[in-house]
Symmetry: C2
Subunit: 361 residues, 2 copies
């Protein structure tokens, strides 16, 4: 370990916010030694409650997170926020003047907000996001919130990595049907209908509850169409939810083994319903601990992390350390003339790795 | 090449639709030999006009594609459709009875629709989708349409792979602002405001045109926040658009070097505006050919393809052929107890590959 890294780790352990910011940049930019850094703080990872907040653009996720952060702070807890939503005002994505009002949370060192949007995918977006959440966790934040837009492969993957996933919708007609079709029903632990001051809000909440009831009853019929998501894992989770719901029906109420997905109404802009959301989050965290679900989810994620880090390492090796890029450059004229196919060139690169390996690189 | 593959290739070359369907399944499931198959048809790839249709869930993309397919057929051309949108009715994602009416196109062997939604990411969703589009292209379809939901990393990547990208929005207030924030302005060659029978439609189109004008003028100021997308490439594209727009202003009209993004109004359900869309698509295709843009885009994609195939090959090698999975399984107890970190285990796997390589595997 180099001295710069040691200093950073000491400042990080001492709770200096600047050290957290530096560590995050280190990881985001995949600078040399970033995996050593993550490895060094690994034993402090796992204490935070990881909350995924997801939902369509315009649902008011950022405003809700802002209000939630305030409520968490009033409880004396600290909160880290990672925003991955390219449409989020947190990310500076706003162009026409609809920046979020960050009063209340801004200037408070118990709230740390970091946007992932302007980065490339040096290490893979989903993995890097999880690693940034790890850093916030290891730093000592009691809650780590990851905000994503709830459509798309990596976004669903990111949501899946939370202990508790909150799906935020608006009362707009059709929002819940779209959410269902996008696979959000499978990842939601808590539903929030935001902008509940609109007249359609209670109807929307009722619609959601109906859809949830229908789905619980037919959980085995159809596995949703997730790309890049472990379908077995999803099916298992779903089955456990269905079994829990069935138990609940049998015994007349949700038993300790079951988690009944609540549908909450919030008006984030006025802070309404936020205390209830925090309550539900705490309830879900308790449920995760009482059942073996938290341990099981986290063990699953350890395996996923190893796989992701290996694949990132392979990419680095072939394009940065070994001859991949040089072979590709040399093959360019033949590729462009059509005398060689991309598969042909890819094979040459893959074979060169075997030779490089044999040379003891 | 095995005899099954040879037979398939012969039937494929003879234009048998069943052979196309089999070839697609082969590629989607990454069955042994699938890359040989793609390599074998590679010299017939590149004749089709590749059209990406993207936009938020509920914008009516599927209905529009359906209508467009009808118009293309009436011109005597054949069309292949790949749907990647998990919320698309094409993918069977509909649950509550809002299945699309597929009359007109169904039963016509000049229209071939394939959904990618129910697959995992065996070969990476973006790459597999492009390869399925390649097969449709090589099979002889004059147009290949790829439908994606326009939010999320892989979805933007897929849209980027088209010759012409159409962004479909609804007239709903805020749709265009959301689209802009999600980065859709950068990938759109044509804008469509669908559901134009609604009263707000012309206002929405005017809003879009304003945003486009504003953005053209400030194209260098800000690179959008795309994950996993080549920012240099985006910046270049954007700069060429801006330069073209500037030329257009200088000479009073769009010169042959510039492409002015049209904003069209359609009512897909009634087929209104679809002829105009087809017209704009043809215009863009001509523009791509007249400038060197088509060649440039396609050369860029050849390089991307090599990279993607190499990375897929590395994943297969480490998890299927070599000892990666065994090492991970053996390390599980230590991972779970916390005595080893994921980075530690990942390193062991990466090092084992060097050793395996040295043994001449």
């Amino acid at each position: 370990m180099k001295s710069g890294e040691r200093e950073l780790l000491e400042a990080f352990a001492a709770g200096e916010a600047r050290a957290l910011a530096r560590a995050i940049s280190w990881v985001e930019n995949a600078r040399p030694g970033f995996e050593r850094l993550l490895s060094a703080v690994h034993d402090r990872v796992g204490r935070a409650h990881r909350i995924g907040i997801t939902g369509p653009p315009g649902a008011g996720k950022s405003t809700l997170i802002h209000a939630l952060a305030g409520a968490v702070r009033r409880n004396g807890e600290r909160v880290g926020v990672v925003a991955v939503d390219p449409t989020s005002p947190f990310t500076g994505g706003a162009l026409l003047g609809d920046r979020i009002r960050m009063t209340g949370a801004a200037g408070d060192d118990g709230v740390f907000i970091r946007s992932m949007a302007s980065r490339g995918s040096l290490g893979g977006l989903a993995t890097t996001t999880r690693e940034v959440a790890d850093l916030m966790d290891a730093f000592g934040f009691e809650r780590v919130v990851v905000e994503t837009v709830g459509v798309g492969q990596s976004e669903l993957e990111i949501a899946e990595a939370a202990d508790t996933t909150v799906v935020v919708l608006t009362p707009e007609s059709g929002d819940s049907v779209q959410a269902m079709k996008a696979g959000l029903m499978e990842i939601a632990d808590i539903f929030v209908v935001n902008k509940a001051d609109r007249p359609e809000a209670s109807r929307a909440a009722a619609e959601l509850k109906t859809i949830l009831r229908i789905r619980e009853g037919r959980a085995f019929e159809r596995i949703p169409a997730h790309h890049g998501i472990d379908l077995t894992e999803l099916a298992r989770r779903r089955a456990s939810k269905a079994a829990a719901a069935k138990d609940a029906v049998d015994i007349g109420a949700a038993g300790p083994a079951g988690w009944e997905i609540p549908v909450l109404l919030t008006t984030a802009q006025e802070g309404k319903g936020v205390a209830e959301l925090l309550n539900a989050l705490d309830g879900h965290q308790r449920w995760l601990k009482e059942t073996s679900e938290l341990t099981r989810r986290r063990r699953q994620r350890l395996l996923e992390r190893v796989r992701a880090v290996v694949e990132r390492g392979l990419r680095t090796r072939v394009w940065d350390e070994m001859s991949g890029e040089a072979i590709l450059e040399a093959a360019r004229p033949e590729l462009e003339s059509g005398s060689r196919t991309p598969y042909d060139v890819a094979n040459e690169i893959l074979n060169s790795l075997r030779t490089d390996g044999a040379r003891g690189r």
